[in-house]
Symmetry: D2
């Protein structure tokens, strides 16, 4: 098949400091659909347009951050195959039984060189996007909240991003889309990788501390909807890091902002298509400011330092 | 790898009645980049954002229509593999030597059940999109013409679309995204198929005559750029079939219009992402009008009858 | 003062065949704010962004159409002044007492040469647009319905539009913005007039029958919101006359559609600014199709014939 | 008439440090149309959509800033009338003969309490906007540069803005649209005034030094064109102060940036209609950050300090 192996980002489990406040915020401000809670008390969400049961899982904790980020793979055989390949590559994997996350099949969990926990799974209940599979109408915007299209990708911070790139490209079939070099012109400061034809399904920045989250990103349908997202943030006094603006890297438009626990989120739109036959784009240290924030053309202090 | 096999539509060779007039029109009105001519006199074009050497090839002929539509595959080994699989499936293939099309590698050519000629190839020279692979800027709209992002897909008309679907899904790894049923509720009138995560890389409508072209489609970056395309068409007195409007099927926004030879083209934007784990959408005959043209909610006469 | 005399369209009273159905429709589909009913049973509406109490008044009747269209003038002295000028010009005026329409001051009512009833008034209660006059937030789109910015203008059909133009320009201070000539190159088929710096505050088309309504128009904030309006119409199976498309005249983008009683409404965006020192634009009969519908470049049958 | 007196901002004469560099920049980056030079060497520009001969005049000087800002009035009688009223009010006026500025009639020049030079004039040659007054087409974006619709307004800095407000409202017929109060809740820090139905035709901020320019502003047709403007600025390494973002005041979207001489310019879109019967909006000191920059919700250092 043309799309095989790892299909797309599937779910992210985030730690929040006050679950009830966060449930309210992800519902009312982000405009996500609450999909219930499990016995551990975790709260589940999906976007309206997503068909699978959940994509964002919130867990109450003392410290914000990301517990794990998961990718859906084509089918169960693919899942077994990846488990074998990961082990053969020297990565220790763990099986999380079906149902441990609501409406989600068995997961293969493993740690990547930057210390983050990644999961693969093949099954999550298709609950639909509300317009059905027969003679559907358009799902017109008709309520409050930012209402992104999908949970799209994340940007992780940690030490050994070279190890990550090797693992994601050689074992998981990802392709390098863009990279930023440090002042030495050789070492990668940051990389953007895709498992499909998007500009990014995951990205990583080299950082002193392992296991850190820079942001989880949500796709918006248009630059105008990015403006509406910024307006909603201001009406709700949400802390905005930067934006609306454009990235040079991926060329998508963007807002970075923070959930009530300090986890950075992104609403973005656009970004070019990237296929595995395409040449990656490289940014030199001299141009990294313009690469990250195309209009300001300089990094803000927060970009390289504030993570959860 | 995650994206393997057939990657994307690569080139379409169209027949035009007056080559010089057409070259002018595809350059000035469509805003495509002329990429030279070959010894046969064929004229080559790409969009500005496309990196490979060409995506539209024009050939002077007495009758408009499409000579062939081609898909780029991952690499040469994949090309060989598809040739073997096609032959094993009972499809006769032909090898077109590298260079027969400018800057294009060897092609595997075959006829599909609806009588259209399809090609696969693995190599086409990367000439870049003008912004480079090192510290690029944004390619801002700064000149005349519609300037689509990419040659995106085509819609073919012919008799045995069931045979096409079987071939594209079983041999070429495509996935069914949407379908329209005839009044009997069983027979497919039309199908939309993808080889990636787009809403369509090719589509087919059941039709009395084989080998016909309904339209070749070009992707636009925004609904506002679709409006600009319509304005450009009117300034240039281009014949518009319908639009700007929205499709119910794929939910993309669209204009159908005709090149000077009567070949229907489309400029479209949007359409949801479709992955191979997703359920296809089915349209009943009763709702086909809304499916094709979401706002008019009825087919215009031309949609089912005017083809080249 | 710079803006004096007639300020802007203020309210339109429309006849509807089924009041309850219409109230539901203007609330849910148009997204207007219901502002109560009066003792005669008339239903009042305003857009969210309008500050004055009402702009659309619905009256149950056996036949659809418009009872009257009103303009707000600067103040009571201006109202008195216009009454005197109208009478001096030979127009018979009538005083409608304050309160006859909810929250609306005294109105000066008169018939124009095409048989339509026009009103002037100076006072309507400022109920605000919900964001207040102190440190306001943006009123973000957060609910169902088309939600236009304002009731913007109307297009009336009748015989003596020359008489109308003379009255509106010589007595009421309007300016001619655009005109369409009949085949003789002399007679006006249609005229667009402004009392401010908009492309139109009222328009008229020459027609065999007096007192007819072509459409009442509502302003939208963007071309993207025009698309959303069209989607909402289709989700609600509203009868769409034409659009989304662009007018050559005024260059605004537009949808014409019908309320449940058959009154044509318009949602439009854009149109250039026109000041009284500017030259009007003239359209010849040969180009009228492109003038009315810039992309189709021909009139549809309904434009010249279907009125209420 | 409905629109009388002062119609709109007409021209701004800016001082630039290097005329040739500036002519290039206003042509290529701003996308203004060069309209020739006069005997003093001043360079003239208009936007493509403006019909009058010029709206921006550049003069080489040792220090950046604004020489004068002018408003077009309805006609010569109005000009005479304003001259009389200004003198009666105690403002000394000066007559600048027709032709002193290219294609511009006689001007009435005077100083306002904040030390800025303001001009009124009734005549400037209508050179048209290139699409003509007979059967026009749409002027589709087909070249480089930001290409605003019009020179729209300016924001001036100086001491006695109370005196300015009194002069503009009592003599020139302007209306107060929005105001920001200082911490005392009484003194105006800033005011926005209109002579038409726009959210602002001129604005002023209280400042220690008289005669200063904060910015001259150009209207853009859409939020998407504001993004394109920001992209063009970055491609050309133009210094961007802030944006793209939204103002709380007027609710328009905006970018502030600097010409090569350090004069701040703005490209903005939107802003609500304001008529003279409408209540002004007041911002308290506590909310001024959100009022100026709706998304950042704080003033940047430059806003209150950097002027030319």
């Amino acid at each position: 098949m043309a799309m095989t192996g790892v299909l797309r980002p599937g779910h992210a489990q985030l730690r929040v400091l006050d679950l009830e406040e966060s449930v309210q915020w992800y519902t009312d401000v982000m405009g996500l659909v609450p999909m219930g809670r499990d016995q551990q008390g975790r709260a589940y969400f999906k976007t309206r347009a997503e068909r699978d049961h959940n994509s964002v899982v919130l867990r109450q904790a003392d410290q914000a951050g990301i517990d794990f980020f998961a990718f859906k793979v084509l089918d169960k055989a693919t899942l077994e195959d990846f488990d074998r390949k990961l082990q053969a590559y020297g990565v220790k994997t763990e099986r999380i039984p079906a149902g441990e996350l609501l409406e989600t099949g068995e997961r293969v969990r493993f740690k990547i060189p930057t210390g983050h926990t990644i999961e693969l799974y093949a099954e999550k209940t298709d609950v639909g996007n509300g317009i059905g599979y027969q003679d559907p109408d358009v799902d017109v915007l008709d309520g409050p909240g930012i209402r992104p299209i999908r949970m799209d990708h994340c940007l992780l911070y940690g030490g050994d991003i070279d190890g990550n790139v090797k693992l994601f490209t050689e074992v998981l079939g990802f392709t390098l889309v863009e990279r930023v070099k440090l002042e030495d012109g050789k070492t990668d400061l940051a990389v953007w990788l895709t498992c499909s034809a998007k500009a990014h399904d995951i990205a990583m920045v080299r950082h002193g501390e392992d296991g850190k989250l820079h942001h989880v990103s949500f796709q918006m349908p248009s630059w105008e909807s990015v403006l509406r997202a910024a307006d909603i943030m201001s009406v709700n006094r949400v802390s905005i890091d930067i934006g609306p603006t454009r990235h040079g890297i991926t060329q998508g438009t963007t807002i970075y902002f923070f959930d009530p626990s300090g986890n950075r989120l992104e609403t973005f739109c656009g970004g070019y298509d990237h296929y595995p036959d395409m040449h990656p784009i490289t940014w030199s240290w001299e141009h990294v400011g313009r690469g990250i924030f195309y209009h300001d053309r300089k990094l803000n202090d927060a970009f390289l330092s504030v993570v959860t």
